[in-house]
Symmetry: D2
């Protein structure tokens, strides 16, 4: 049985690492502020001393940190991942980063003698804890297959998408559809209100038909209460839409519906909703 | 047990009337070209001689015809519904008509001594045959309750939405969300293609997550084959978006995402796709 | 020298009729509330007793009333225009009406033995008074030529556009470009502000270059003061954009930029700006 | 009288440098491929040996190169501008570069003991030759005043906009209004065509009214002929709109009309029009 490392025990990483431990795997964990390791150690994990040491001592090391800068610091910093990968160690970065950063990191890992996979996830805190994430992997195909026992514990589905960068790109496409579906929904909810239709009736009708989906089902009742506790911050949702539109720009691909939706999200940020849940774009649709 | 009438045996009406007959109800049918009644009579229905006669001889008469003009002709024409409603006969119009036409018809029926409900449906041919339509009813509340035994056979869900016109309005809101979700989806599918991502991977990822819905699941594989056999004509989908935007106009409600989507549908009409399935808007997104 | 009639002495009609009188023409005027005729009579006009009488006693009668309903009432009402046109009298409707209404009125006039021209104008109060309107004429070509001496007094330019309805359509195209230029402008003005650029510098730079135009020059300084006294009501500007988009809809012509702009105007109406000048859409762009 | 340097003799720089020489100024010129200096030398300029040498030997050195990369190479390269600025030499970069690059260059120049102004221009080849550019300057105010004798020869108007970066930002705002006005115009031209209105009539009417501007006047007749010889490449126009939208993104400012227009330009690029004049977006509006 493979020995796994896990670097970064934030909201997402904590859930994934715990699932690995609870499934009976031998796991070495590391986090910048080390007290976050305690819960994992109590559950059966071992505490590592640095990213380099964890990577060198494990077969496959996973990581999930907050953004491209943190991701690069983890790899290129002192006692970083890069110092431990020689001799064919495998590194799987599950952070949400842009295609360019993924390519930079992947190339460096491989050049240093290591193996690389990007595997950003679709899903937030709940799915990370429940092991129901969707993993968007790209890079070395053989490593994807080897990591399957770990992936199957962390997520309900993992797909292999080709060369490094395609994982990041798929995530942008998915999140851009999500953001646009969200404003389609909020424009409908607010029109219903102005037309004196019951939004509950609207939710019921939508849920009974071909558009029925967990997002409308989950966010609709929260909109009715104007309850926007953050599951996915609006500013991050808008950032992904911006990046998706820039990907379209690169490819000379016009996407008018997405672009219109993106501007609504900007208006929502201007209302101070950047840190609220992305469903709070509802309040901008109301204007 | 109530005696039911059914006027209009087209694609939608035929399925609904058959379901009433097959459920054991006593049903009198009528259609402008009378040979369409044969199948129903063979199944156990009685053939009526005119709308007026059907309405006068039944407790509740349902109708489903193609558009507002046909709907008005059925009611106000010679031997039309209006001539049969005196004495409290009930008429339920399930055609897709605009709020104004529904109000005109409803007021005339009531003035002539009848009872009225509009009940446009969400769903197309398949759900009409399977009895899984969603009924958007508005008008007389008591009649809605009395019609429940019939509604439960024709649809899987029926909601009562208030005064006449609200059924039509709810349908516009629902269809406008549907059209906008569709271009959000086609812009994502075409971006995936241009970014060398597999659309099958995209469909799989979408179907595993919070956006999973029957429409993406059903239309996605057809888009991959560019197979656009008409379930819901694109020109009708666009017409509903136009009317929803005009409803917003009436209410001073800006809906930028919907408006952007609507223009994509117009571009699709300009490509000659008006009579294809509304998912063929994919071809306009590809440009 | 031809004898002219003028029906309707509101903001626009008053200026045009005065210009005809001041140019030395023999003019018979009529207005629903007759005291508005006094100023014209003082200037040298004759007061008529009804639309029918004016039309019957003049060679060419012009009219400018507020909307399609007023326009139809003037023609089809008791002692209306229609009763005076027999025997080849000419009627030129300068009101802003939709293509359908223009066609209805034109057909009725011609059938009654009269001659017809629609001639909606581009320009507001100032140009009506200064004789610098632009006349968008359509209908009978010979009548357009005969009316030239009057047109040249009321406007600085008149164009003949073909069959009845084309005048109304041209006005929609012009006003839709105007509305969209306006939100392009307000989005730039508000971006400049948020970027700590001086809007005065922006106005100066715009005015020195290829985009230099009287509208930016006139409305820009008023925006800086948030002074939105009504020259052209926002709700009318938005109505024209709606009608232009519906004309596009009829012709299967997608216009995404115009549609986006139109929704901004709706948002402005929702802020209570419908009766303010259309440049107050600036306040919606600021959100 | 000050001694001027000019670096970069491309389409724009050549015209500006010639105007300086023809106005009687003492000018030292330099260009990467040195044969471009010949024409200037024939007109009275002196040929410099490197950017560093030109800067060190002149009071104020102007530069105009193609993009941010060329701009940085000119300053930071071997024998570059930076090596010549010590002792208070002045450098004015007239290239179109993003705010960040302008700030990077400006800071380096000042740290090396030099003085800096960014001064991107509004206007293309013709205005560069005729001396009718508009200069959007920012940086050191005193230098702006000192450069006035040169600016007044190169342009018809120069404005001082504050700290470095504001010149670049103003240019983005101006070009974004321009691009959006352009699609407002092309959507109107194509609607006119589909409605069987004469585009010549439309151009005449627009030119007679409040929207009258040199851009419509110049580009309209070229659109009628579908003649799109490049004055300003469509891909550059779209790039400026992208950057303006990203500036809005930074400032949480939604600009729906601009965003819609930007997507039309992307569609035009997808049709292969990137290198045509930006007015060829007309062909995308036609779809």
């Amino acid at each position: 049985m493979a020995k796994y490392g896990y670097l970064g025990l934030g909201i997402m990483g904590r859930g994934m690492a715990l699932n690995l431990v609870n499934a009976g795997h031998d796991v070495v964990v590391w986090n910048r502020s080390s007290e976050k390791c305690d819960e994992l150690v109590a559950a059966g994990a071992t505490k590592g001393s640095s990213p380099a040491e964890v990577v060198a001592s494990c077969d496959i090391t996973f990581a999930c940190v907050s953004d491209p800068e943190a991701s690069k610091a983890l790899v290129f910093g002192e006692n970083g991942v890069l110092e431990g990968v020689a001799g064919g160690k495998a590194y799987v970065d599950m952070s949400t980063i842009d295609p360019g950063t993924a390519q930079t990191i992947g190339a460096a890992i491989v050049e240093a003698g290591g193996r690389y996979l990007e595997a950003p996830v679709s899903g937030s805190k709940g799915p990370a804890e429940n092991g129901t994430l969707i993993l968007l992997a790209a890079g070395e195909r053989a490593l994807f297959d080897e990591a399957e026992p770990a992936f199957s514990v962390m997520g309900k589905k993992s797909v292999f998408l080709g060369e490094v960068g395609q994982g990041a790109r798929m995530k942008l496409v998915v999140n851009m559809i999500m953001g646009t579906m969200m404003t389609a929904f909020t424009e409908g909810m607010t029109l219903a209100e102005k037309a004196n239709l019951s939004t509950q009736d609207l939710l019921d009708v939508l849920d009974a038909g071909a558009m029925s989906n967990p997002m409308f089902r989950g966010k609709g009742p929260l909109m009715q209460k104007e309850s926007f506790a953050t599951a996915f911050p609006l500013k991050h949702a808008q950032k992904d839409m911006r990046l998706a539109l820039l990907l379209g720009d690169e490819l000379a691909h016009g996407m008018p519906t997405v672009a219109a939706s993106n501007e609504v999200f900007k208006k929502a940020r201007n209302k101070g909703l950047g840190d609220s849940d992305f469903s709070s774009v509802y309040l901008a649709s109301k204007d």
